[in-house]
């Protein structure tokens, strides 16, 4: 049990709770970026360096910026006057409590978890490359196709509609 792990976890969870509960959306997005960095720090402590760098590159550098741009494009930059919670939010909180209780009970009472800590695995980028192009080459190519489709789809969905489309509405 290392203190650095606990401190990083506390910072990450605090940022995540703040990301979900603040009134101002831009503050939520910035706290989300902080929680992503916290998760990257947790990956670094679990000896998964490549995944930590990828997390910062993909999530902090791209997804957080995307969320911020979407907030500005939908004019949600100002704080809302009405309530920020949806109708029926108590049901949501109740379900969350049930989910967390189930997960926590399963983790703490499981006998399938290994009790000994193995030494840290040495992962070189060459191993990752060999595995990706050897055993997992099919998922790699499919992910390439999915990313291309997502990129084209996102551009098409967010394109401004032509005026003639509005006349053809039934």
């Amino acid at each position: 049990m290392s203190t650095l792990l606990i401190i990083t976890a506390v910072v990450t969870l605090f940022a995540a709770v703040a990301a979900m509960s603040l009134r101002n959306l831009v503050h939520c997005a910035l706290m989300l970026a902080v929680s992503f960095s916290g998760v990257a720090a947790l990956y670094l402590q679990l000896n998964a360096e490549f995944v930590a760098f990828t997390e910062i590159l993909v999530y902090v550098g791209a997804v957080a910026i995307l969320i911020v741009m979407a907030i500005l494009l939908t004019r949600s930059g100002e704080s809302p006057e009405k309530s920020v919670l949806t109708a029926g939010w108590y049901a949501g909180v109740a379900v969350t409590a049930m989910v967390f209780t189930t997960l926590g009970w399963a983790i703490l009472s499981s006998s399938a978890l290994p009790q000994t800590v193995a030494p840290a695995p040495v992962v070189s980028v060459k191993n990752i490359g060999d595995t990706l192009m050897g055993r997992y080459v099919l998922p790699l190519e499919i992910v390439g196709l999915v990313l291309t489709a997502a990129m084209i789809g996102a551009v098409l969905i967010a394109f401004k509609a032509e005026p003639r489309d509005k006349n053809q509405k039934s």
Partner: protein
């Protein structure tokens, strides 16, 4: 004869490493890794801000001379009458920034406004950890060092947005949006051009990439910039690093004649100094990466000059590229936002993708004149075709030149 020179100067080459080991040797063994890292970090924090102050003087005097005027030429050592041709200007400038009143707009988001310069400086300083400044002189020799550099460099965009949005100023927000769009667009050619180097070397480790460029053929170094794909790759990297550091001709987000000062309009005093420092440090870091990837890092261009210490070569190359940055800033006019984005997506991205193909072709063809001719032909044809193809609808007038007399 050169081997004797190299052996004579080898201790000078490793002088920083030996000093570090000697200093750290005084401490008990448990404290040594931490102390070693702290000393390296302190060294980086002393050298690069000092380089920043010298480069600001060079920039102002250089731009002044290119514009047919003197730059700062009065301040030497403050308090004395020694003029030093203006090279002491950074001292009063720094004092001025420190003592100016710190004005925060009333409607500004105070915490985010305060944290934006800090969030800019932290990733920029982190990127210096993986650059190899000399033989055995990289602070953190990660296996995935190049990925670390790009990941942490991409975190700068969050700070730009924080600065622009928290000022509650339309100019700031507009400047921040433009800066983020520009940085995102030019990150892709930047990363694609470095993918070609990774392909040829087979590793993301920056020290291995420098060592792969260490030999000499016919007296000239094996730098990647002396190959067709390396030259195109370095040109793409160079232009993209101009755009990533918001330098002219890509400085629309912070242009004084267009948008006042862009996303740091509402910053004064020390926070402005921090932004300025962060921007220049980011410029040095990405120039350093370009030198590592394409220009051979700390290796010498000719085999006979190998005795000069490796860190001096790195510094010389960095100062040379900084001089070219200053030269371009003084010479070229600013690009408009749509011209900038067109250039990135329609010209640099296809060329960078083609460069990956050409690098692969280079690797698989036999060594000899055939691969030079084939790769160079493909690159030149693509460059001319893309250039002419994209410009065919522009109706440009006759080019005229006017010189100041």
């Amino acid at each position: 004869m050169f081997e004797q020179l190299n052996r004579f100067f080898a201790p000078v080459d490793q002088i920083f490493v030996t000093t570090l080991h000697w200093l750290v040797g005084f401490l008990p063994a448990a404290w040594r890794p931490v102390a070693s890292s702290m000393l390296c970090i302190a060294f980086i924090l002393m050298v690069f801000p000092a380089l920043f102050s010298i480069v600001t003087i060079f920039e102002r005097k250089g731009i002044g001379r290119i514009q047919n005027r003197y730059g700062p030429n009065r301040v030497g050592i403050p308090g004395t009458k020694i003029r030093l041709a203006g090279f002491g200007q950074f001292l009063p400038d720094g004092l001025k920034m420190l003592t100016k009143e710190d004005i925060v707009p009333r409607a500004a988001d105070k915490l985010v406004h305060f944290l934006a310069p800090v969030v800019l400086l932290i990733p920029v300083l982190l990127t210096y950890a993986v650059l190899p400044f000399g033989r055995n002189m990289a602070l953190a020799d990660y296996d995935a060092g190049l990925l670390f550099f790009f990941a942490v460099g991409g975190a700068v965009e969050v700070s730009v947005f924080m600065a622009g949005w928290s000022s509650r100023n339309k100019y700031s927000l507009l400047g921040a949006m433009r800066a983020i769009a520009q940085m995102l667009s030019y990150e892709i050619p930047l990363i694609l051009s470095s993918v070609t180097v990774v392909m040829i070397v087979g590793s993301l480790n920056l020290t291995r990439i420098v060592e792969a460029q260490a030999g000499h053929t016919f007296g000239l170094a094996n730098w990647f910039v002396f190959t067709p794909w390396g030259l195109l790759g370095y040109l793409i990297f160079f232009i993209a690093s101009l755009a990533e550091s918001n330098r002219s001709p890509f400085d629309l987000p912070e242009a004084e004649s267009e948008i006042i000062a862009g996303y740091f309009t509402e910053y004064s005093g020390f926070k402005f100094a921090l932004f300025f420092l962060g921007e220049y440090l980011g410029m040095f870091a990405i120039i350093g990466l370009g030198i590592t990837l394409f220009l051979g890092g700390w290796t010498a261009p000719f085999a006979c000059l190998d005795f000069i210490p490796s860190y001096l070569w790195f510094l010389t190359k960095m100062l040379g590229i900084v001089f070219i940055f200053i030269w371009i800033r003084a010479t070229l006019p600013r690009l408009r936002m749509d011209q900038l984005m067109n250039f990135a997506w329609k010209f640099m991205l296809p060329l960078a993708l083609l460069n990956v193909l050409v690098a692969g072709l280079w690797h698989y063809l036999a060594i000899g004149p055939l691969r030079w001719i084939a790769c160079a032909t493909i690159i030149i044809v693509a460059y001319v075709a893309l250039g002419r193809g994209l410009m065919r609808h522009q109706k440009l007038g006759q080019r005229t030149y006017r010189y100041a007399d």
